[in-house]
């Protein structure tokens, strides 16, 4: 068992109110114990297999490959229960919370996928669930709000700031500061204070562990490139993790360029560069003004509408191990339609960013992490493109 990283190079850390510090220490200890406990691994394995639907298929996108002249393989996380990779992390952390004797779960959500996944995990394990969600996201992701409520979760609207994911995370952390002795915060992405980025990566690593073996099994070779969308970066870090030591495999994270990187209205802190900063408890690539006030992000996809990024991504960028690029709202919307028409798969708007980049830059043997399905985005897409 390797130790739980607090920093990735200079990035990461624990910039949180003192009230939370003991809880982070306790969480790290509980995580190390769980990972070394075969009973935890077995219980999670059964839940992932029989409840969530793992392993997910590796699928060769025939028509897209034909169109681009490349070879595109899709890791079908969209086929999981609740329709996205978020369930991998939600089940793992909910089980962990139960082991820690915490009966109340807090979560934040942007697109609603993590909120739904957490609500599902809590329903399954009999835990109380409160999901913080920006009022703007509640508007654009209404079906997921209804799902969470049906599953017995309380959806708490957040009205501050731009009323999107950043504020939802802040509000979830504030709740946790006040309820830390009885509650666990299931953060939805590979962000936040240590040990969260490492825990989320470890729980999402199943994506690349499976995909790597499946690629070898199907093609006899590793992919030349792994492509994934990056908001906070949980599906990307999970999709990259098993390939980190394979130096010949290129890793590409696709962020949201929103209305264009030059417009300032985007969600691409890794692509845009700039000095690192602290957001939601860790030092990483973030969007901020000259003085260090956090900027508002913008993206057509709620899941990428976030001015921060996971600290391990910041380190992978700095070391050159991974490359980060960005795709505009318009290109993502076009890819959303194209993938639907050509493959019979409606991707999440988040994943549509990765598709847009892959289609514009076809490769010899690409693995794209299809992080989620796009049913939740229909109303928003139709409103924007009709």
């Amino acid at each position: 068992m390797t130790e739980v990283e607090h920093r990735f190079g200079p990035f990461g850390g624990r910039y949180v109110p003192e009230t939370l510090m003991p809880a982070l220490v306790e969480l790290e200890e509980a995580w190390v114990a769980a990972r070394n406990d075969p009973a935890y691994e077995a219980e999670l394995g059964i839940l992932l297999r029989d409840f969530a639907g793992r392993p997910t298929p590796l699928y060769r996108a025939e028509r897209l490959s034909e169109l681009t002249g490349g070879e595109l393989w899709l890791k079908r996380e969209d086929l999981l229960h609740t329709g996205a990779h978020k369930i991998n992390n939600a089940l793992g952390q909910a089980l962990l919370a139960k082991r820690m004797g915490k009966r109340r779960i807090i979560a934040e959500t942007g697109a609603g996928q993590h909120g739904v996944a957490t609500a599902v995990a809590c329903a399954r394990l009999g835990l109380e669930c409160v999901v913080y969600m920006g009022a703007e996201d509640i508007r654009r992701q209404q079906p997921n709000v209804e799902r969470m409520r049906l599953l017995g979760a309380t959806v708490a609207p957040v009205e501050s700031g731009a009323k999107t994911l950043k504020e939802a995370v802040s509000e979830a952390i504030r709740d946790w500061v006040a309820s830390v002795e009885t509650s666990h915060y299931i953060i939805g992405s590979a962000v936040g204070p240590a040990p969260f980025p490492a825990i989320v990566r470890d729980l999402q690593r199943v994506i690349s562990d499976e995909a790597r073996a499946q690629m070898l099994d199907r093609t006899g070779e590793l992919p030349k490139r792994v492509i994934a969308c990056v908001g906070g970066g949980s599906n990307a870090i999970g999709g990259f993790a098993a390939f980190l030591e394979d130096a010949e495999v290129e890793l590409i994270g696709v962020e949201a360029a929103g209305e264009g990187l030059d417009s300032g209205r985007h969600g691409a802190p890794l692509t845009a560069g700039g000095r690192p900063g602290i957001l939601h408890g860790s030092l990483s690539a973030i969007m901020q003004n000259d003085e260090g006030q956090i900027a508002e992000a913008h993206s057509v996809s709620a899941g990428l509408d976030y001015p921060g990024s996971g600290p391990q991504h910041a380190w992978l960028r700095e070391t050159g191990r991974a490359t980060y690029v960005a795709v505009t709202d318009a290109d993502a919307l076009a890819a959303f339609r194209r993938v639907s028409e050509l493959e019979g798969i409606i991707p999440a708007l988040e994943t549509a960013h990765a598709f847009a980049w892959a289609m514009a830059n076809p490769g010899e043997r690409d693995l794209l992490i299809l992080s989620g399905r796009g049913d939740k985005d229909l109303a928003e897409v139709i409103a924007r493109t009709s």
Partner: protein, 261 residues
């Protein structure tokens, strides 16, 4: 006199049973009015004043202070303008700046410390800079004789409290309840134990904050042995709603000062 010494003197020369430390937000509702509020605090019995710098994502703050920061920023508040406010208030009363870590990091710890000295500020509270992340800040502030005031919470275990208490400068900011800043009704349960535990683990004065919103609560916190009492959201609410914020805040501060006689 160094910043640390000014804070020490303010606690020693306090007129009440506990030093009264009102919190104000720089540039809220605007720069000029916030200076007037700070001076009014000084004139109405404040022994020290805590000057908050507006931040976009204040994780340790409840809705009242969060909203005030949002409004201040919307009205154009900057770190530089906030430091001007701190400077004006420092001329009347010892001040401690409260600032989230990213704003300090942006400028650099050393440069920020130099700015605080320039503004006549005596110390700094970083609510999201726990012990583990503080060494660089502590070194920079120590070099300028400024106090890096740490926070301890009810959830802080004894061993950790001892470590924080040993490295505390100025005073030990003792959070009375697990939670964010904000007004709470009734006496904080177990305040005696909170103060006693902090007292046993540090040589600097113990000041209690978070949730103290009435003179009665302030008085019972002093009775519990706290050497300082910090009033935040109650005063920000007053500044946000009163027609004449500096006079109104001054009146409320006077009520707290009287309760500590």
């Amino acid at each position: 006199m160094t910043g640390c010494e000014r804070i020490g003197a303010a606690f020693e020369q306090r007129t009440g049973r506990a030093a009264l430390m009102p919190y104000m937000m720089a540039c809220f509702p605007d720069e000029e009015t916030s200076i007037a509020i700070g001076l009014s605090c000084a004139a109405n019995g404040a022994d020290l004043v805590e000057v908050g710098i507006p931040y976009s994502d204040p994780l340790a703050d409840g809705p009242v202070i969060h909203e005030a920061a949002t409004q201040a920023l919307r009205n154009g508040a900057t770190v530089q303008a906030s430091l001007r406010v701190a400077k004006a208030v420092s001329e009347a009363v010892p001040t401690v700046v409260m600032c989230y870590a990213n704003l300090v990091l942006s400028m650099g710890w050393e440069a920020f410390a130099a700015e605080l000295v320039e503004a006549g500020v005596s110390g700094l509270i970083c609510p999201d800079l726990p012990l583990e992340e503080a060494p660089e800040a502590l070194a920079a502030l120590d070099a300028h004789g400024l106090a890096l005031v740490p926070l301890v919470a009810p959830t802080t275990p004894d061993s950790r409290l001892a470590e924080i208490g040993a490295r505390a400068r100025g005073f030990l900011y003792t959070v009375s309840v697990a939670g964010t800043t904000g007004e709470r009704s009734g006496p904080a349960a177990g305040i005696d134990a909170v103060v006693e535990r902090a007292r046993a683990n540090t040589s600097v004065p113990v000041a209690v904050g978070f949730g103290i919103s009435t003179p009665e609560q302030a008085s019972s916190t002093a009775d519990a042995g706290a050497e300082g009492v910090i009033i935040g959201s109650r005063l920000i609410r007053e500044a946000a709603t009163a027609a004449d914020p500096s006079t109104a805040v001054g009146l409320v501060v006077k009520g707290f000062a009287d309760s500590l006689r």
